[in-house]
Every structure is written in C-alpha cells, then in structure tokens.
Amino acid sequence: MIIYNYVFIGMLLLGAIGFAMAPVIVMGILGPKKRSKSKSEIYECGLLTTGETWVRFRIQYYIYAIMFLVFDIETVFLYPWAAAYESLGLFALVEMVIFLLILAVGLVYAWAKGVLKWV
C-alpha cells in the first residue's frame, strides 16, 4: 500500500526531529548557564541595535518569489508530461511547446523590464 511507504517516511520525520532536538536539549543540560544582559543582546558588530528590525527592502525579493512560483508550477505541469511522454504522440509535444512559449514570454518580459537586475 502506498501509505506504508509514507509511514516509514513519517517515522523518519519524527526520528529526524528527535535527532535534531536531542543535542540542543543535551546542550541545555550540559552547557554552562551564565545569563548576563549584555550576552543576550543582538550582535551587530558590537554596536547596540537601533530601531526595530526592519530594513528598507527592495521589491526585488517579491519579484524573484513570483518568478519562482510561476516557474515552479510550470515544472509541476512538465513532470507528468515527461512521465507520460512515450504514450503521448507528437501532438502533445506541440502543445507543451506552446505552453512553454507562453511562459517564456513571461520570463522575457521580466528580463526586458529590467526587474531581474539586482540594483
């Protein structure tokens, strides 16, 4: 049953979480605990932090995230096509070329618009 494949993966997931948490817990027990105000300050090359944690972000990050989202979904469509390639005729190849052309226009648009440049 497919589910048993994933039961093993589920056990591995729990085991990995345990494997990751164990040393941190052990460190909490073994490690020395000398709390001091200065030690728990945020490290900024020694200076005290000013202002809250927000930096003037560029829109680039958002644009890269959208580009990734759109091309991620493009690959989600490409995977089943590739898996079923031999039972699909030449016609499917033409359709897939059209699909990729439509999305390539998106990439060319972003490129020519200059949003991909990291100013």
Partner: protein, 415 residues
Amino acid sequence: MNVATDWALPLVWAQQSELDSIPWLKWIIVLAVVFFGIFPGIVAYMVWGERKVAGRFQDRIGPNRVGPFGLLQPIADAIKLITKEDIVPRTADQWVHLLAPVMILVSAFLVLPVIPFGLGLAAVNPPSGLIYLIAVSSISALGIFLAGWSSRNKYSLLGAMRAVAQLVSYEVPQVMSVIPVILWTGSLSMVAIFDRQVEYGWFIFSPPGLLAFILLTIANIAEVNRTPFDLPEAESEIIAGYHTEYSGMRFGLFFLAEYLSVFAVSCLGTAVFLGGGTLPWPFTGEPVVTLGSGQGLLSLILVNLPLIGIFMAKVGLYVFLMFWIRCTLPRLRVDQLMSFAWKVMVPLSIINVFIAALWYEFVFRPGRPNYLLGWGVTAPLVLISVIVVLSIYKAQMKADLAASPTSRRRIATAN
C-alpha cells in the same frame, strides 16, 4: 531484466505484497542504524574530509592533532559544540529560533530514504519518488528564512532574504534539469530510474544528459549555499548571514544540515545521472545475481556490497568535486549570481528538455536505437544553445556595464 524489484528487500514496500501489519521493530532498527548512525557518520567524516582536502589545496596539512590523521576531529567538534552555552538573544522568537535549524535538518534527512543505494536498497519506493524528493528539498528555503527572521537581527534578516532569493532562483534550474531523466524513464519512481540506467547505461552519456548534469551540479552547489554561491552566509559580507545569532549546538545543527544536504544532493546527482551503483557499461548483473540467489539478508548483502561500494565511490567523487570548486573558484557578486540563474540556467534547462525529447526519439523509442544519429543531432543542438544563451548573457552584461555609470547616478537619486 528488472533486477531491483526481484530482490525486494522486505524493507521496500513494493505494492505486490498487501501488508497488513507493519514490522515496527525492523523499521526502527533500520532507522536507528542506517539513518541515524551511518549517514551522520558519513557526514561527520565528510566535514573532516573537506578540511583535509582544503588543507591539501592550500598546501597545509589540515586537522591532524586529534587522533591519527585527525580522524577524531569531527567527534571533538561535536563534543565542543554540545558543551557550549546555549545563548539565544532575549528579543529573539524562542520557538521559531529553535524550529528553523530543525526544519532544515529534517528536510535534508527526508531526501535519503528515496535514493536507491543498491539493488532494492531504496528504503522506500513511492511511485512518484522524484517529485517527492524535489518537494522535500524545497522546504529548506523556508527554514533559512525563519532562521533569519526569528533572531530579530537586521543583518541576519537581510542575509536570510538574500539567501532565500538565491535558493529560490537556483531551485528552478535544479527542478527542470531532472526532467530529461523522467522523460527517458517514463516514470517518477527512483527505482525505475535506476532500472532504466541498468538497461541503457548512465544517462550522463548523452548530450542533453551531460548538459542536464552540469546544470544540476551548478544548481546543487547553489542550493547548499557553497562557494561560488555562498554569498548570503559569507563571512566577509553580512556578519555571518542568517545564522549570526546561533551559537553552540544550534549552529552545529546548521553545520550538520549543510553537509547532510551536500550528501543528499550528491546522492541525487549520482542516482539520477550517474546510474547509482552500476558500472558504465549496461549492467547485466548475471554473475553477481547468481552468486547470491537466495532471498535472505546474507544474499542481499552479498549482491549489494559491490553496488554500494560503486555508489559511495561516485558520491565521494561528486562531493570531492564540490570541495575542489570551493577551494578554487572566487565568490560571485549578488547581481551576477542572480542574473546567471534567471538568464542562463533557466533558458538552458527549458531548451534542454526539448533536446532530451529529441534524444528519446532516437534512442529510447522502442524501435532500433541508433546512438550515432542521436549524438549527431543532439550534440550540435546542445552546443549551439549553450553558445547562444551565453553570448546573449555576455551581451546583456556588457550593455549593463556600459549603462552602469549613469545608472549609478540614477540609483543615487532614486531613493
């Protein structure tokens, strides 16, 4: 001859057997021994290997104090990290601060059960194994973001955003460069990919396969934030990037996660392109299979010993390639890094998908596979596309450089 499935290790839940009860004990043993014993050991000694190799490249010895040839160095590091004090900034978000490294490590761990180390040695063989693998490895981007955000440090947040932007940009070519493999095997399950390479030889021995392998390797290096793509956590850049506020074993987890994902990613590379566990010529496997014809554990080990050896050798070479690159290539600037992903890697991988479809027509189509014609057609196509894309990229870079003085002023006035 479908070698792998005949030797279904009880561990591999192929669909044939309608198992009602789950052998919990056996699974726990396998988990404890293989996944939380052997793999962390391999990873620890990869760290040691890297430091030794880096030492050799820079004409120094590398760790040799702790134990013979410094073999106990990883254990010493581990103990040092465990006994450190667990300093977490007061204003940091306590739970998310701990969750982030755990998330990255878990996403690296979850990749391993799917990879076929030998005949039927893939711990799990889900029918859509490859897309499961890609999905799990995409979770680490979120973990890195949370690490940067939870430590409430301006620079680590900025470093995390840049790291995620880079990861995200290089995940598209990574995901797309694997598509030719699915095209040729006709199924998404990793064991089927292994069987296909057993019959037809390694996938790297074809022009589109070679290009896809190169793209995958570059994307893999970027995916694990190693030089020349390790800008977000570069020491000289923004303090220490997103893991500034991590100390002691929490930082150890990051370190472990990075090397485990190096191992996982190189396993993916070998399993998918280098025909994990088989020798270059189509592996008929008659001699080995007859040797261990029984069903028991002993015969399984006998059959798989050479295969695992070959697999680990390939992984070792792959990892050595990464170490080598780390010691030689300089670090890329941010804008070069990002524009290289979107303007060279993504177009190339899209074009490569179609060249792979062409290769399929020549070689894998059930008729008489003629490799000569295949090479004759696809090799020039691959070369042309690489040259064209790189020249466009060069022209674009030159145009940007020419325009840059004015743009520098424009940026200055902009904000």
